[in-house]
């Protein structure tokens, strides 16, 4: 158990702080710098767990546990779930579109950090009372006592808030089907009216060696058609291009048949002719 004394902490805690603190900062940086949202979420989860450890180190046992269970466990899972639902979009690109936004943002962030540091440095926070006395009757009991006495009103309101949030989330995401679903005929007529793409979309993998969903179908000239791949995959950039492989295969096949039929090597003769011409 940590000492929780004033002014200074144990060496163990210091050691723990410097190691885990560094990791937490790296995690936070990775959160904002990772290109894919899933990676960001994972880094954030890591940072949160480290924060949970710090809570524990600071004598907030209940919060530490809650942080792990609720925050990292539930909320971050919710995030991952939404990432899965939403899929990957062009928004994931780190390329800035607003002129000067990145520099301004960095400037603001740095300036703010400096300000906060200056503020903390200026504040008289030398004296640490420690939680020894407050946690004497147990951290959870102490919290419970406060919540149900001094903060009972706020607590009740958080209840209301949670209910409202739940209802709100349902209202926002629920979509009542108000109109009749379109029939197949109507949809085909619509397509004809739009005149963009009359037949159904082509299936992936046609004319290709593979017919997995992430492989684009090849057009007669051997180039891949993006139309054949699911939109979400397209946006995530998870298309495997097999066109070059297919062409190589084709060439290999031709080579083999040439060998077998003992025809003169077309390419060799071609190149030989050019060499002669250049001489």
């Amino acid at each position: 158990m940590t000492q929780l004394a004033a002014y200074t902490t144990s060496t163990g805690e210091a050691f723990q702080f410097w190691i885990l603190g560094t990791v937490a900062v790296i995690g936070a940086l990775c959160t904002i710098l990772m290109k894919k949202a899933v990676h960001s979420a994972l880094c954030l989860a890591g940072t949160m767990i480290i924060l949970a450890v710090f809570y524990l180190a600071n004598g907030a046992y209940f919060l530490g546990v809650v942080q792990i269970v609720v925050y990292t466990g539930a909320i971050m899972m919710l995030f991952l779930f939404v990432v899965m639902l939403v899929g990957v979009t062009a928004a994931d690109s780190l390329k800035e579109t607003i002129k000067g936004q990145r520099w301004l943002a960095l400037l603001c962030g740095l300036g703010f950090a400096v300000l906060l540091f200056a503020g903390i440095g200026n504040a008289s926070v030398k004296e640490f009372n420690g939680l020894g006395k407050a946690n004497a009757g147990g951290n959870v009991e102490g919290l419970a006592e406060l919540i149900f006495t001094k903060y009972v009103f706020a607590f009740e309101i958080t209840g209301a808030l949670l209910i409202t949030a739940t209802v709100g989330a349902m209202v926002l995401t629920h979509r009542e089907r108000t109109e009749r679903a379109k029939t197949q005929r109507e949809r085909s007529e619509e397509r004809v009216r739009e005149g963009k793409h009359l037949p159904p979309l082509p299936a992936p993998g046609v004319y290709a060696r593979h017919n997995a969903v992430d492989i684009a179908g090849l057009l007669p000239d051997g180039t891949p058609s993006e139309l054949t791949v699911n939109k979400t995959l397209r946006e995530r950039g998870q298309i495997r291009d097999v066109s070059s492989e297919a062409l190589d295969d084709l060439r290999a096949l031709e080579q083999r048949s040439t060998d077998r039929l003992e025809r003169p090597d077309l390419r060799a003769t071609d190149s030989g002719r050019t060499e002669e011409a250049s001489k």
Binding site: I98, L104, C108, G111, F112, A118, G119, N122
Partner: protein, 631 residues
């Protein structure tokens, strides 16, 4: 008795109001009403005159206080009248000649559909002119002063459909306004110097201020007089003013209004007496104008313009006399009165001639009219003899006195002024003889006009000839009546004061010289115009003649310098106002617009961009809080 004074002004004013506001219903009787009210004014004047004659010389000044016009702290302007011998002289002249010209106009304007309005304007003029001479302070005088200017404007431009008439009217008013500026500055100077501008206190207090102040006031009054009396350099309007109907030219631009400048100077005699330099300038202006007008008069073929030049010249005599100080005041006024008779007579004669000649004004197209218009010929002839100063007639007495007084000024100035006056007399004789010969003698030179209407010269109706006869009487006898026994001198002396000058030449010498130059002038004109046929189209003439035909190029000068210059100035100012003054503001607006256009780009609609601003703002706020706490 003094309560009658207001009636003098009120009668014609009432006439003006009724005639101008009344509708068409008055068209048939309007002219009689106007004439009647003018005559009423004259009758009142005569009554007052008779009353005045019955009093001693010192008690003859009457005054009437009507109401306090403009009472402001430290500034009192009253509507009050003062009738003394000087005003009386003018009142009689104005209402008398005015009435005659009303009568004359009945005939002259018979065929004009706007005759009622014409009489309204004439009445308005009489009221304003009487107000001018009756006012007991300069501000009220100023009201009359501008009032006659307005009437003159309306009457010169009476035939408004003629652009030349409208332009002439505007020009007259504008040039007069320049003079009015002088009068108003003079009044302001009086106010700051004396604290008042009533005649009595101002003229009494002249001794208590510096000569510089008096000179300034005097020069400003002279500027006013120059405007109203068509003296150089503000003389250019008078020739153009002949665009008005001839009775107007006779009344306003010969007999009465144009002499207001002389009245002003004589009335302000005390001021000028204290400012010899101002007096000198007055005499110079008078002398220059008297030559200027005479030269212009020699070259004009338009009978009315020739007479206008003559008027200018004669008023030059009066101004010259007035500038001589106490030795000249009385003679200035005397010449003014006699001039009022003979010049009005001459103009009416000219009007009668034009009436008979289909409104032709070019003397080169007259000739031999004495047979067709005997009455006009005789009255015009008497006026002619009077103006050239033929011994025994009016002009002789008054002009002779002025020449004498000019010599009496003394020193080199006296010699120069006297010689100029003599020279002027010679030129007067020359151009008036020319007018006479061209109009009434020689071959008849008129031809049918473009539409084939040949003029049928005929004598004018009675309403026109009677006033001419009356005026001819005045032209013949007034001078003698005034001059013999110094009757006029004694009448006016209590008001204007008088001093006998010591002429280096004896009175007989001056008279002899006057008669001599007169004969030379007549002879010259006879040699040039009397002996042979006169060409109908004017010969090209010498350089001087051509310049004189163009009013000695003064109009051209005005046109180039003032009109063109003014046009350029206003046009460039309009441009400046649009581009510079407005441009600065519009430019600011455009800059702001551009700036906000740039700033708008910050509002790019991206939530992240706004988040940066919010975050940056929060950072700045925290930094400010920290800094405040640190400080």
């Amino acid at each position: 008795m003094e309560n009658l004074i207001a009636l003098l002004v009120a009668a014609p004013l009432l006439g003006a109001a009724v005639l101008l506001c009344g509708g068409r219903a008055l068209d048939r009787a309007g002219h009689w009403l106007g004439t009647l009210l003018a005559a009423a004014s004259f009758v009142v004047a005569v009554v007052l005159f008779a009353d005045m004659l019955g009093k001693g010389a010192e008690e003859r000044t009457l005054s009437q206080h009507l109401f306090s016009w403009l009472p402001v702290e430290g500034f009192q302007a009253d509507v009050a009248f003062q009738l003394d011998q000087l005003s009386m002289t003018f009142v009689l002249l104005i209402s008398g000649v005015g009435t005659l010209i009303h009568v004359y106009s009945i005939g002259y304007m018979e065929h004009d559909e706007r005759r009622r309005r014409f009489f309204g304007y004439l009445n308005l003029f009489l009221a304003a002119m009487l107000l001018l001479v009756l006012a007991d302070n300069y501000l009220l005088l100023y009201v009359g002063w501008e009032g006659v200017g307005l009437a003159s404007y309306l009457l010169i431009g009476f035939w408004q459909h003629k652009p030349s008439a409208a332009t002439a009217a505007k020009k007259a008013f504008l040039v007069n306004r320049v003079g009015d500026m002088g009068l108003s500055i003079a009044i302001m100077l009086m106010f700051t110097t004396f604290g008042t501008f009533a005649f009595g206190p101002v003229l009494e207090a002249t001794g208590e201020t510096s000569e510089g102040k008096l000179t300034a006031i005097g020069l400003m009054l002279l500027l006013a007089a120059c405007g109203k009396s068509a003296q150089v350099p503000l003389q250019s309007w008078l020739g153009d003013a002949m665009e008005g109907p001839t009775p107007v030219s006779a009344l306003i631009h010969a007999a009465t209004m144009v002499t207001a400048g002389v009245y002003l100077i004589v009335r302000s005699g005390a001021i000028f007496n204290g400012a010899p330099e101002a007096q000198l300038v007055v005499t110079i202006v008078g002398a220059v104008t008297l030559l200027f007008g005479a030269i212009v008069g020699c070259a004009k073929d338009d009978i009315k313009k020739a007479l206008a030049g003559s008027t200018m010249s004669q008023i030059g005599y009066m101004i010259l006399a007035a500038g001589l100080g106490p030795i000249g005041y009385v003679f200035a006024i005397m010449h003014l009165v006699t001039h009022g008779f003979f010049k009005a007579g001459l103009f009416l004669g000219a009007g009668s001639v034009m009436h008979g000649m289909n409104d032709e004004v070019d003397m080169r197209k007259y000739g031999g009219l004495r047979k067709y218009m005997p009455v006009t010929f005789v009255t015009f002839g008497l006026g002619y003899l009077a103006i050239i100063g033929f011994p025994g007639l009016s002009g002789f007495f008054s002009k002779d006195k002025i020449i004498e007084a000019a010599f009496a000024k003394g020193g080199t100035e006296g010699w120069i002024l006297g010689s100029v006056a003599l020279l002027g007399a010679a030129i007067t004789a020359y151009y008036m003889t020319r007018v006479m010969l061209l109009t009434f003698f020689g071959e008849k030179r008129w031809q049918p006009d473009a539409e084939g209407h040949a003029p049928h010269p005929h004598e004018s109706p009675k309403t026109m000839t009677i006033p001419m006869i009356v005026l001819a009487f005045g032209s013949v006898f007034a001078g003698g009546f005034f001059g013999i026994g110094d009757r006029f001198l004694h009448w006016l002396e209590p008001v204007t004061g008088h001093k006998h000058g010591h002429s280096p030449l004896s009175a007989a010498t001056v008279t002899g010289a006057t008669v001599g130059v007169l004969l030379i002038g007549v002879a010259l004109a006879y040699l040039q115009y009397g002996r042979g046929p006169v060409p109908v189209t004017a010969p090209r003439g010498s350089l001087l003649t051509r310049a004189a035909r163009r009013d000695l190029l003064q109009d051209d000068f005005n046109h180039v310098v003032l009109v063109r210059g003014g046009e350029h100035l206003t046009r460039s100012l309009v441009y400046v106002d649009h581009t510079l003054v407005d441009g600065v503001v519009n430019g600011t607006a455009a800059t702001m617009g551009g700036l906000s256009g740039r700033l708008r780009k910050l509002q790019n609609g991206y939530a992240r961009s706004y988040a940066v601003s919010m975050f940056g703002g929060a950072a700045v706020l925290i930094a400010a809080t920290l800094l405040m706490r640190a400080v």
